[in-house]
């Protein structure tokens, strides 16, 4: 496994050359979205400059080229996940994937006597779609607490599974604490009790090697924009045998073989689930992003982020800085949430911004988790492939200046 060279990587990201408030930009808000390398932007431009046409519809040369790019991008993305091409459905992003699933799987959980298990670590997008539907149609939502290491408490999960459940939907990596769930173990437990597993991997797939077969999840959702790709494109992975028995959540063009007055014959997956003209340029961009990450090696990406997190733990050590979650870089995936004694996290974030250091403050669309930390908001720094140790030094220096001025 080779080490990443962030200086070399930065050359691919024009935006990182910007100065903000007269200071070089240190972008440490990658859990919100990542920056995009030239390779991705050029792939999108190249598609629109040379190959743009609708896919799988028209019998002209451009449509063939566009379809070819659409197929080959899907193949790259599927291989990246260890999945088969027909198991990858394109969506607008992780939120869209999870909402679609909450509709498609409603018969399993959103009914009287249905029981869906989720956890306290979830992003709102993996709580609200399920909870809202269950409340409307009947069905119970069980929220499993975290253990001491801020991972899903598997003992509690086991107890809930024994009470009966059709579906477990959990996050891969906490978007607030960066803690990584042992998905393989969770899948094994859920399957033993006959429950399906949905994984929200919006913060997992961009940062570590992911193999859907090894984790044995039934469904997995992620967004392109957090992993060097454009906004507006994401993936829903689903096991082939499940996908072929699922009803589409959207209907329209491109998802039927034939429409007769008395009914219609649906396309096979994944096309059955991609009604309307797809976001072809987005798919092409995401394909280029996956290619970029594969060239670096996901093992190397993970290792680089561990080094950054280790350094951040070191330089942020301070009696007046409370870091939430575990302090072991092995247990954290590129995210650190903290608060500075006497300073509101929004003030920390705005103050850092004036120093060109970009982080985020708030409850990060995970209010139940943030409240369970005993906070109403936290400051969060999140790292990616182009971040350097020097940027983390600037983060720490700016946090200390904020403390001096605002507390």
């Amino acid at each position: 496994m080779s080490e990443l060279d962030p200086q070399k990587i930065r050359g691919d990201f024009p935006i990182l050359e910007r100065n903000i408030n007269g200071k070089p930009l240190a972008f440490l808000d990658n859990a919100a979205t990542s920056q995009k390398p030239k390779q991705v932007l050029e792939a999108i431009q190249d598609f629109y400059f040379k190959h743009n046409s609708n896919v799988l519809r028209s019998d002209n040369a451009l449509s063939f080229e566009a379809s070819e790019l659409y197929f080959s991008s899907r193949h790259k993305i599927a291989s990246f996940l260890g999945a088969e091409d027909e198991e990858v459905v394109f969506t607008k992003g992780a939120t869209d994937s999870l909402n679609a699933l909450s509709v498609a799987l409603a018969d399993r959980y959103a009914k009287k006597g249905g029981r869906l298990i989720t956890s306290i670590l979830e992003h709102h997008s993996n709580l609200l779609p399920w909870r809202t539907r269950a409340r409307k149609n009947g069905g119970e939502i069980v929220v499993v607490r975290a253990d001491r290491g801020w991972r899903i408490d598997v003992e509690k999960l086991e107890e809930e599974l024994e009470r009966g459940s059709e579906l477990v939907t959990i996050t891969h990596v906490s978007n607030v604490l960066g803690t990584i769930n042992d998905v393989k173990d969770i899948s094994r437990r859920a399957h033993r009790h006959g429950a399906l597993v949905v994984l929200d991997s919006a913060q997992g797939v961009p940062h570590m090697p992911v193999d859907v077969r090894d984790m044995d999840v039934d469904f997995l959702a992620f967004s392109g924009h957090k992993m060097l790709g454009p906004t507006g494109i994401g993936v829903l992975f689903a096991k082939k045998q499940l996908l072929s028995s699922m009803e589409p959540w959207q209907l329209g063009g491109g998802m039927v073989k034939s429409v007769e007055p008395e009914g219609e014959l649906l396309e096979d997956p994944p096309y059955r689930f991609e009604a309307g003209t797809p976001h072809v340029a987005g798919v092409v961009g995401l394909g280029a992003a996956v290619e970029y990450l594969e060239r670096l090696g996901m093992g190397s990406v993970r290792k680089h982020e561990e080094d950054l997190v280790r350094h951040a733990f070191d330089v942020l050590r301070d009696d007046d800085i409370e870091i939430y979650g575990p302090r072991d870089p092995d247990e954290v995936c590129g995210i650190i949430s903290f608060n500075v004694k006497g300073v509101h996290p929004h003030d920390v974030s705005s103050f850092l911004d004036q120093d060109g250091v970009m982080i985020r403050a708030g409850y990060h669309c995970a209010q139940p988790l943030v409240n369970s930390l005993g906070a109403s908001a936290v400051a969060r720094a999140s790292f990616y492939i182009y971040n350097t140790l020097e940027e983390i030094d600037r983060l720490a220096a700016s946090v200390r200046r904020a403390k001096g001025i605002l507390s």
């Binding site: 509101h344 929004h346 003030d347 705005s350 908001a377 605002l406």
Partner: protein
């Protein structure tokens, strides 16, 4: 000296030494504003005499921007006629900060204005 940016000297000064800070016993109107997304709380207390606001005070548990905003706003509102205070708006508050605040922090700066407005409606309800 820092005369630009969100944490310019004037804002920091109001944050550190807030004007009109403290509850008013027997206030003619009181209103609490909350920003549930970040936990900020600010309460505005009014005292009137005739049609004039003789005292406008506040207490807060909030970020620096919200506190500084409440301090500057109470200073601005105090001594005004009720009708003049009711006409204060978003632009007046943003001007106190020198004009620009990013959309995420605008909510912090505007929380005291919202509380002032509801305290003024409270007054109106009681026919003051």
């Amino acid at each position: 000296m820092n005369s630009r940016g969100l944490y310019r000297d004037k804002v920091l000064e109001h944050f550190r030494k807030p004007r009109n800070y403290g509850a008013i016993e027997g206030a003619d109107a009181t209103s609490k504003g909350e920003n549930r997304s970040c936990g900020d709380e600010v309460t505005i207390y009014l005292k009137v005499s005739g049609d004039k606001l003789t005292a406008v005070q506040f207490t807060s548990r909030s970020c620096a921007i919200c506190r500084a905003s409440a301090s500057m706003l109470t200073e601005l509102a105090k001594g005004k006629k009720v009708s003049e205070a009711a006409a204060l708006d978003r632009t007046d508050v943003l001007n106190l900060f020198g004009g620009t605040i990013d959309p995420v922090r605008e909510g912090c700066a505007l929380l005291p204005l919202g509380a002032l407005k509801s305290a003024l409606s409270e007054l109106a309800k009681h026919g003051r």
